[in-house]
Symmetry: C2
Subunit: 444 residues, 2 copies
């Protein structure tokens, strides 16, 4: 096998070949680095990449395996990390001028989990400024004149461009699902609290999620198994039984799933071609899908709750940056923090309370009828220019902490990828993946 094709292997295939001894981790890492050399000048997905450090990890993985000890599910497989995820051996700059040359002492919880599974940390990928909206340098691998989406721009683009089979990002509004859809990869935002956020830049405890990127559904499951778990540093995680994502994914659904198609009150914000593509998809699914309006109160109230919570919590989490260097922040971020500093505690608490109340009604939707919600991943394909696009079709599921998957199953008239978003019941993440596989098989 030539090096180019090793970079294009799925993580599951690569791990299997390493396990069987027909591929070394060093060769796989080398193939990824070679691919990066080819496409990085255009895509610009990486903010830190030390080839020697990456290759040394690959060699160490190969040596460890030769010792005959048991190896983890990701042994020797490279993973990219959004540069808001702390690494003890690489800088973590959060896309923020004020955090230039920041060198964390410890790995984030998810990084320790990845290393325990045998993964090679290939490097750090470009994020928008503090995982908010101001774009980094990354371009869409399908067309460099278009945004890859954000804030997990580099992670989505790197996976899409076959620079690395797996990457982690984050989502506080739409920062995983949106770039995943724009770049045409699988993107997964698990249930809130399923993956620990210890050692990751905090914007909002209520809204922050770790996000996963891969080029196959099986790879999403493989990565999810590695990073789901309890960590004492994240008070929203809970000790619980290990989730067998891959096993559930491989199962046949006991009965054909039923999907609830949710337009949301923002349907008209999607462009005409996207609405049409979705309508066709719904038609193809026939009696396995029906339109449903799960909103207790009509209108955009949950979007307003998301705004209040995000502003208030960001203002609290960026107090130091605001006090010591607000002039070094983008105007966009500074304005967000300033709005947040004016939010009253009663309004913040009311938004939290309303959210908790409405999320129950979404749970009921699943118990009563639907296996998953079918909805847009974004208002259209990746927009032209650097602006990272609109998270309007993502914030609801972020707010409610529900698991969401973007599947690269559609294409826009401009040839750019168009994601299909499936949303599941909280804590039924593996079942959501199983439903996604069913949908994918039905459509392809």
């Amino acid at each position: 096998m030539d090096e180019r094709s090793a970079a294009q292997l799925s993580a599951a295939e690569a791990a299997q070949r390493i396990r069987e001894g027909v591929l070394t981790s060093e060769d796989l890492v080398g193939a990824c680095l070679e691919r990066i050399r080819q496409v990085e000048p255009t895509v610009q997905a990486w903010t830190f990449l030390d080839e020697d450090l990456a290759l040394a990890q690959g060699r160490a993985a190969d040596e460890y395996k030769r010792s005959g000890q048991a190896i983890g599910a990701l042994h020797g497989v490279p993973v990219g990390l959004k540069d808001i995820i702390d690494t003890g051996d690489m800088p973590t700059e959060n896309g923020c001028t004020l955090h230039k040359a920041r060198a964390p002492r410890n790995d984030a919880a998810v990084v320790a989990m990845l290393r325990a599974a045998g993964a090679v940390i290939l490097g750090k990928t470009v994020t928008t400024e503090c995982a908010y909206f101001s774009p980094g340098k990354t371009r869409n691998p399908h067309n460099p004149e278009h945004t890859p989406g954000g804030s997990s721009s580099g992670s989505a683009a790197a996976v899409a461009a076959s620079m690395v089979p797996l990457a982690l990002g984050s989502q506080t509004a739409g920062s995983t699902i949106r770039p995943g859809a724009f770049c045409g990869v699988y993107a997964f935002k698990p249930t809130h609290g399923l993956v620990p956020r210890t050692g990751i830049l905090q914007l909002s405890r209520t809204l922050d999620h770790v996000g996963l990127f891969a080029r196959t559904l099986e790879d999403v499951a493989l990565l999810a198994e590695a990073v789901a778990g309890y960590h004492e540093g994240d008070a929203d995680t809970r000790p619980r039984a290990r989730i067998a994502f891959r096993e559930t994914l491989a199962e046949e659904p006991p009965i054909p799933p039923m999907l609830g198609f949710v337009k949301t009150p923002h349907w008209e914000k999607a462009d005409a071609g996207t609405r049409e593509a979705m309508a066709e998809l719904v038609e193809t699914l026939g009696d396995r899908v029906e339109e449903v309006d799960p909103f207790v109160v009509p209108g955009g109230e949950p979007w307003a709750w998301h705004k209040t919570i995000l502003e208030a919590e960001m203002a609290a989490n960026f107090e130091r940056e605001w006090t010591n260097g607000r002039d070094k922040l983008s105007e966009q971020l500074r304005n967000q923090i300033e709005r947040g500093r004016e939010v009253r505690a009663v309004d913040y608490q009311r938004a939290l309370k309303n959210t908790a109340a409405q999320v129950e009604s979404f749970d009921a939707l699943f118990t009563e009828r639907y296996d998953a919600i079918l909805t847009l991943a974004a208002p259209g394909t990746a927009p032209k220019g650097m602006a990272t696009g609109d998270p309007v079709f993502n914030v609801l599921w972020t707010l409610f902490g529900m698991p969401a998957l973007s599947l690269p199953l559609m294409q826009g008239e401009n040839g750019l990828p168009l994601g299909v978003q499936l949303v599941g019941r909280r804590n039924y993440d593996a079942r959501l993946m199983r439903t996604a596989r069913w949908l994918q098989e039905k459509l392809t």
Copy 2:
């Protein structure tokens, strides 16, 4: 045994006699009612008491026992409930004009737990308005010209006056420890999250605790065993192993405990006689106590955090009352809500974050050296008049969610009771009781 003496039994003794068949629950309830008839005109501890309903519960307990089925640890024993704790068969008016004749459909979680343990719910005890500061009608049983303290005024007074052996109250500032100290009973505020608050008037999720009152330490342990536990309706409770309070209480400490005497920055607010009495007690304990200053930052910062959190959360929890009937609230409560409506979300979150940071340093204190903190329960004996007194020596342990016990081990020059407060490490509640027993034996 005559009825008067049955009312004066401890709960443990009464439960034992009922178990042995030498006392019926009906007779015990009757004895309590007789005692109430004698002293209630002066003490005024009850806001709802239906003699027939109480006696019927006693008879039902006796009948159940005669059926030969297994009985709970509190079988047939009467308990009084602060009138902010919901009962499905009695009104719960929260001491609030706006909640007049409020009739909850369900028992609060602790009430269901008490009934499962076999307890008789004797009646509802007087609370200040919404468990805040505006006093109810209750008087101190030791001298009716003095306050019983608040906000759990009726529960503390009813237990002190032998109207009922056990009662539940609550503490958000100092509403259990302070009335316990003023009335000369044992008062226990467990670790935050140990006892579920589902179905109890919420002032502040962060600060609200259920409080326990009894006339012996063993009774505190017995009651704690009945009400500690997980409830899905209280997100701060956790499933955990049952705590054997009585067993731990009966154990000898493996080595003589060491106490850390904490004056707090408010020491000068205590009256001279109280400071002197405490100094004597410290002297008596010799090398088993040493003064310690656990404050990371000098001054009263944690008291300010408590104020911010309480104002902000009360404002959020009393939005309906404020909107629909603020003119029917006391000026004191209305002002508190109005202050809370102005608190900014950043200040609220900063107070929460600072609290979480400092509480760790208190945990370290225990691991390093001390079994418990010894501190004042109140600035002095119960003040004259209706005002319920100053919670300044309680708010810190409420804020940090640490278990606190008031022990009726001292007396003021005016002959009124003076409490000694012991504070333990979070989640080491049973050990705190064991240390309390050791202290009590050492001093008496």
